[in-house]
């Protein structure tokens, strides 16, 4: 068995309800996998099962060749950064950070030195003797990160660690997590529901839907080459169209055609809204239903041959509801979905039809 985390056919049931079923997931040693999914998909449940905080109903979890199932939480040699910092209010910042070392029997002087170094690493120089309750939410989460690293874990689990942090401070903490993970090379599973955050941090992404991993691949794959309509929708490819392909063109109702690279037959395509562009000669013609400025772009919805298309245009473009528009999309940005959604392993390229 190679290093890293290998989950095979993992099943977890809570209060009689099956949350995870036949879940397979591999996190390669030293890499960061971002686990994304909608609320209620089972992300936190999986993380808690990995940490030993929820029992397995089936399957196995192997970390660096060790089967974790019979090992208690405190002996799994992993660390978790939860959504909330969960610091110990009766301990100083430094003692919080060195808590794993104290549990490992490290002497006080060495613990104090290690805590100081870790606090330096997370940008909290000189806070070792402070009360953690006096720190901001972002600072507390940095302490939690330092505490997680203190025990030199074989696996670092992060459960939406930025969700309770002030939006202005998230970016700094995100960069810190990415930097520390790469410099230490610790195998990491990062749970988030934020697609952009997952794409930025993850060496690869795994999408969890209703207790199963539906696609696991590098970020670009999930955004640009989704394995199914569900994956496409989750990663923002909101235009899912089904039609008949004839000689390299997908024919939609109303005679509208879109250029595609696909064999003849019934096919479903996914187009990202930012790939659609205003084009007076474009094949997708229709009336604008809604138009709203979103800060970085303008979002419009166009009714085209009975289908609603979402497009993200330059923010300075002026489009009003009721305007007649024509849109086009380059052939290379039309992704033909596989006939049946199949999980795709990391490193493999999704098959292009």
């Amino acid at each position: 068995m190679t290093g890293g985390l290998v989950c095979s056919r993992v099943a977890v049931a809570l209060d009689g309800a099956t949350i995870l079923r036949d879940l397979d997931l591999t996190v390669q040693a030293g890499r960061l996998t971002a686990l994304v999914g909608p609320s209620g998909a089972g992300k936190t449940t999986l993380l808690r099962a990995l940490a030993g905080l929820e029992p397995l109903a089936g399957g196995s979890i192997v970390l660096d060749g060790r089967d974790l199932a019979p090992i208690a939480s405190h002996q799994r040699r992993l660390a978790v950064v939860f959504q909330e910092p969960r610091l110990f209010p009766n301990l100083t910042v430094g003692d919080n950070v060195s808590f794993p070392l104290r549990m490992a029997g490290v002497d006080r002087r060495a613990r104090r030195r290690a805590a100081g170094e870790l606090l330096d690493e997370v940008g909290l120089v000189g806070t070792a003797d402070r009360d953690p309750r006096g720190l901001s939410g972002g600072e507390q989460q940095r302490v939690a990160l330092a505490r997680a690293l203190a025990g030199d874990p074989q696996l670092l689990l992060l459960d939406e660690p930025l969700s309770a942090v002030d939006p202005n401070r998230r970016e700094g903490l995100r960069h810190l997590i990415a930097g520390i993970q790469r410099s230490r090379g610790v195998t990491t599973l990062y749970v988030t529901h934020d697609r952009a955050e997952a794409a930025e941090l993850g060496d690869d992404l795994a999408l969890l839907i209703e207790g199963r991993i539906v696609q696991h691949a590098p970020p670009e794959e999930l955004f640009n080459r989704p394995a199914s309509a569900v994956v496409a929708r989750f990663f923002g490819a909101s235009n899912i169209l089904t039609g008949e392909v004839v000689s390299g063109r997908l024919r939609l109702s109303g005679g509208v055609t879109v250029p595609v690279d696909a064999r003849d037959g019934t096919r479903t395509i996914a187009i990202r809204p930012e790939r659609l562009a205003l084009d007076p000669y474009g094949p997708l013609r229709g009336r604008c239903r809604t138009s709203s400025f979103q800060g970085t772009h303008r979002r419009i919805v166009v009714e085209c041959a009975g289908v609603l298309l979402e497009a993200h245009l330059d923010g300075e473009v002026t489009v009003e509801p009721g305007d007649q528009l024509a849109l086009s999309v380059p052939r290379r940005h039309v992704w033909v979905l596989p006939d049946a959604p199949t999980p795709v392993a990391v490193g493999e390229r999704s098959a292009r039809w």
Binding site: V80, F88, N90, P100, M103, A148
Partner: protein
Amino acid sequence: MTIVLFGGALAGAVRASLQPDPFSGAYTLSAWRSVVTDAAFRDAVAFTLVTTVAATVLSVVLALPVAAALRGRAWARTVAALPVLVPHLLVAILAVLWLGPGGLADRLLGGMPLDVVRSRSGVGIVLVYVAKEVPFLALLLLAAWDDDIAAREEAAAVHGAGPVARFRHVVVPGLRGPLTLGTLVVAAFVFGSFEVPLLVGPTQPDTIATYALRVTRIADLSGRADAAAALLVATAGSVLLAVVAGATVRRHRA
């Protein structure tokens, strides 16, 4: 209202303890001198302290695992609350009926292996208080043993803390405030209470409260002043514990 009632009673007790001289009418400390020099009173103070400490410590030690066992169960607080509603007097009477000479246990076992009721060691008193105070303390702990503590227990677990270390480093510090408060409340109550030692305690030594009752029964009128002085000592002990409890609550809230 509390200050008026409690203060009025206290002032009355102080006045009674300063027994006026029958000839001059001047207040004297003769009752205090009589009580302080009475060996039986000193024994009562020692016995009261021993039973108070034993009952309090045992109650706290047992309440923690009881609360831990009941934690997370919806019905737990109701179950823990039921014994709290039962008066101490009733538990003491049950102890006499079940554990006393000729009682239920005596007949079932063909003789008790040790004296519980009326034992000079005070084991009966301690048992009744433990039976009453363990549910009270467990209820107090369950109310404070909230999701935050549970979340920190998980955090400790995933950072290498086993069950004992979690209990020591997370649970005990998290419950320190209510635990200290509950301990002081129990100690204050046991120190000054009357009915349980009277029913299940030995004839000798007295507790401070039963000593006060006994001295009021002597023919000499000075017994009333002696009883007031003795009860003021018990009150002082209870008030001191209550003040410490109040300070603990304030510090815990800060």
